[in-house]
Symmetry: C2
Subunit: 450 residues, 2 copies
C-alpha cells in the first residue's frame, strides 16, 4: 500500500500524539506560538478520564465528560486536529504514520520538527489477557458504558433468577485494584445498590448486594498517607463495601474470582460482575519510541526520558504523561511520578514551553513536578484529600473534590449539565443514566435474523 506524504510547510511543525490531559495542555501552551500544531488522536474527543467511573455507574452521560477536540481548538487556526491511529514513529526521518478513521483510506505520513507523544496508559492484566472479557476496565467511554450495562444487567438477572446461590452471585460485585478509580467504582456500586435501586425491584433486595474491593497492597489507596487509607477503608465499610487489602487475584472466569491472601490461602468468590482497575500498561507508543532510540522501558512499558522530557539522543521528540518516566537531572535516577492528570498537564505545559524557548533561543530548566495533592471520593459527600501535607477526609474533602473537578471539566455547557445532574442525584439519590445499552440490541438482531 502506498502512502500519502504531506508536503513540508514553512513554520515549525509540532505533532502531538494523544488528546488526553498531556496532549491537550501541550497544544494549549502552543496556541500563540509561531508554530503549526497537528494533534492526532484515535478518538475525536478529549475525555475527562477522572469522571469516567461516573459514566460506568450511571451518574453521568458520556457527552457530559467529553468534548470534541475540534471544538476545543476551533478558534486556533494554527491547530490541526487529525482523527486517526498512529501506528509508527520514525525518529530519523521525523515522520509519524497515521491510519485514518475510514478503513478504506490510505495511511498518511505527517512530518514534524518537534514531536510530543502523549499516548497515555491502560490497565494491565498482569499477563492474564484471558481475564479481560470477564473483568472490564473503566478507562474509555465505550468500556465505561459496557461496565454500566453489566452492572445493571446483573441486578436484572438477579431479579429473574429463582436459584438463591445463582442470585447471590449476580448480586456480588468484585472490583480489582483499590487506587482512586477502584475505590470510587466500589463506592458508587455500593451506593447504587443501597440508595438508588431499593424500591425498584420486587423480588430481590439490592441492599443485600456485596461489593468486594481486592487490593494487593496492605491497604486501600496505597498512594495516600496511611491515615487517609484507613479513613477511606472505614468510609467504604460504612457504605457497604468490603475492602480486601493484602489479597491478589489468581483467577477470573465468568462465574467468579479466586483471590489469594498474603499467607497463600486462596478463596473462591462467586461473582458475575468483575471490574478491573489495577496495574498500568503504558501506550504501545512508549515501546516503539524505546525501540527506535534505545531508551529504557520499565515493567509497565513506560519509556525513560531525559530531564527535559526528550527521548535520549532525539532532542526533537518528547514523551509525556503516563507513558513516560523522567530521569532526575542530578541523581540520574528515574523518577516514578504517579499516573495522574496533574502530572500529564504539567508535563504538557512544559513541552509547550520547551518548544517556545527553543524557537526564541532561550534555555529551559529541567521539568519539575509540583505536587498539588491527591484526591479520591468514596461515594456521596465523602472523600479523602492529601493537599500539600494537609490530610482531610469527609465532607470538606468532598467539597474540594467537587470544585476541582467542575473547574477542570472541559466546556461550559458540560459543567452546567453536570452540576444539574449532580445536584439532582445528591438530593434524590437518583441516577438518570441507568440504561442498559449495547448487548440487548445485538441480541435482538440475533432473534430477528433467525
Amino acid at each position: 500500500m502506498s502512502t500519502v506524504v504531506s508536503p513540508p510547510v514553512s513554520p515549525h511543525q509540532v505533532v502531538v500524539i494523544g488528546g488526553g490531559f498531556g496532549g491537550l495542555e501541550t497544544v494549549k501552551a502552543l496556541r500563540r506560538a509561531p508554530v503549526e500544531v497537528t494533534l492526532i488522536d484515535r478518538n475525536n474527543y478529549h475525555l475527562f478520564q477522572p469522571l469516567t467511573y461516573q459514566v460506568a455507574t450511571a451518574s453521568l452521560s458520556p457527552d457530559e465528560i467529553a468534548e470534541p477536540l475540534r471544538t476545543i481548538f476551533r478558534r486556533d487556526t494554527s491547530v490541526h486536529v487529525v482523527m486517526g491511529e498512529v501506528t509508527d514513529v520514525d525518529l530519523e526521518r521525523r515522520v509519524v504514520r497515521v491510519e485514518p478513521p475510514a478503513s478504506d483510506a490510505e495511511p498518511r505520513e505527517v512530518a514534524y520538527d518537534t514531536l510530543v507523544v502523549a499516548g497515555g496508559s491502560s490497565y494491565s492484566y498482569f499477563g492474564h489477557e484471558e481475564w479481560r472479557p470477564f473483568a472490564m476496565e473503566v478507562k474509555s467511554l465505550d468500556s465505561a458504558l459496557e461496565v454500566r450495562s453489566r452492572i445493571l444487567r446483573a441486578f436484572e438477572a438477579a431479579e429473574g433468577e429463582p436459584n438463591q446461590d445463582h442470585r447471590a452471585a449476580w448480586l456480588t460485585y468484585v472490583v480489582v485494584g483499590a487506587g482512586p478509580t477502584g475505590v470510587e467504582m466500589a463506592g458508587q456500586i455500593a451506593e447504587l445498590a443501597r440508595d438508588t435501586l431499593p424500591g425498584d425491584f420486587r423480588v430481590i433486595d439490592p441492599r443485600f448486594g456485596r461489593v468486594l474491593l481486592v487490593e494487593m497492597a496492605d491497604r486501600v489507596l496505597p498512594a495516600f498517607p496511611p491515615r487517609l487509607s484507613s479513613r477511606a477503608a472505614q468510609a467504604l465499610e460504612r457504605i457497604g463495601v468490603t475492602p480486601r487489602p493484602g489479597h491478589r487475584v489468581v483467577d477470573i472466569d465468568s462465574d467468579g474470582v479466586e483471590i489469594e491472601s498474603a499467607d497463600g490461602q486462596t478463596q473462591r468468590v462467586a461473582a458475575r460482575t468483575v471490574i478491573w482497575a489495577a496495574g498500568v500498561a503504558a501506550s504501545p507508543l512508549a515501546g516503539l519510541l524505546a525501540d527506535a532510540s534505545g531508551a529504557e522501558v520499565d515493567r509497565a512499558g513506560r519509556v525513560t526520558v531525559e530531564p527535559d522530557l526528550t527521548i535520549p539522543g532525539h532532542p526533537s521528540a518528547l514523551a509525556i504523561g503516563d507513558m513516560a518516566r523522567v530521569r532526575d537531572p542530578y541523581t540520574g535516577k528515574v523518577d516514578p511520578l504517579p499516573g495522574l492528570a496533574p502530572v500529564a498537564m504539567q508535563q504538557g505545559r512544559y513541552a509547550g514551553r520547551l518548544v517556545r524557548d527553543r524557537l526564541a533561543g532561550s534555555p529551559t530548566p529541567s521539568f519539575r513536578y509540583l505536587d498539588k495533592g491527591n484526591l479520591a471520593t468514596i461515594g456521596r459527600a465523602r472523600a479523602v484529600a492529601d493537599v500539600r501535607g494537609l490530610k482531610i477526609s469527609g465532607f470538606i474533602a468532598w467539597a474540594i473534590w467537587l470544585v476541582v473537578h467542575l473547574y477542570y471539566l472541559i466546556g461550559f455547557e458540560n459543567r452546567l449539565v453536570v452540576l444539574v445532574r449532580w445536584s439532582y442525584n445528591f438530593f434524590t439519590h437518583g441516577r438518570g443514566g441507568r440504561l442498559i445499552t449495547g448487548a440487548t440490541e445485538r441480541r435482538q438482531d440475533l432473534v430477528r435474523s433467525e
Copy 2:
C-alpha cells in the same frame, strides 16, 4: 431446556409486553386498579422515541431521552417490571414465554388473565435486508449512537481524504423516507454541517456537504396537508437539504445509492452515509398473535384487532399501537391509524380502562382515536403543525413542538437537562454530543491484539 413456571396468584394478572408509549400508558392506567401488572420489555428503559433523532445528530445524550421502567413504576408495588425478550405467546394456555437478559438463565413462563401486547414497529427495508448495514435506521438508542458516529466520522474521513471525488462522497448524506423522522434527520444533518461544524475543520468546508432526502410519495411529509408539505420543502431547501420526492431507492451499497424517478430514470448518488427512515414493519409479535388466532395481518405485518382492541376470538388478549390495526365497529373496515405516539398512548389508556371496566362489570364503548394533530420540526426554530384543522408553520409551530415534547418527556431531571442543552444549542449553534464512539474502540482492540 425445561421452563420455570411462576405459580398463579390470586389478583387479576395483567401482562403487558413492551414499555413504549402504548405499554407505559396501559400500566399507568392500571396503577390503582385491583390487579397485578407485569411489564415485560427487552430493554430496561422507556425510550422517548420522537427525540431519538436528536441523539443521532449529537444534540442530546441517550440518558436524556430514556428513563428506566423500574424508576417510573417504583412507587407502584403492584407493578412488576421484567427485563426480557418475549419469544412466544400461548393464547390457549394464557402464558407468555420470556427469555431473561442473562444468556445462561432458563426461559420463564408468565401466566396472565389479561394480556396487552404493545410490541411497536421498526422500519422495513422493503425486502432488501442486505441494505441494512449501509443504511442504518434511527429507532433504538444503540442505532442512534451508531448513526451519530457514522455521520461525524464521515466529516473526519472527508478532512483526511486527498481525492476530491472521494471527499465529496464522504460529504454527501442520503436520508431515505421523508416522514417526520426523515425530515428531522435531514434538517439536523444540514444544520450540523452549516451551523455547528464550520470552523472545526481546516481542509474541508462542511457547508459544502449535501443532504439528499429521498421520498417515494410525490411530496415530503405525505401524512400532512399538501400546503404544509410545500412549506416544509421550502424550509428544508433554505437550510441546505435537497428533497427528492417521487423517487425510490433501487440499490444501496457502501459507496452510494441508486434512485429511480417516477418515470423510470435511474441516477447514482455517490454517498458514504445513508440513513433509513422508511417503511413500517410491525413487531414479530403481531404475526405470532395472528398465527395463533387466525386474525388478519397486513403487508406491514400489523395484526387486525376488534373495535375494543382485542384479538379476534380471544377477548383476554389485546394488541395496541404500531403493531395493530383496528376494525371499525360500524363499517367493519380496517382503520389504518398513523404509527404515532398519541395513537399508542390513547390505546394504552383504553386497554387499562377496559380491564378496569371488566373487573367492575361495566361495559366499555369501542376505542375511538382522538386526533390531536401532527407535528414535525425542520431544524432550528422551524416546524409545521397540523392541529385540528389549523395549519401552522414557522416559529410558532416550533414553539408548540418544543412545549409538547418537553411536556411529554419522561422524568423531571430529563426535562431540566434537555432544556439546558436545547437553550445552549439554540444560542451557540453548538452540540455537546459530537462524540464518535463504538467502532474506534473495537479497532483499537484489533490493533492491540496484533
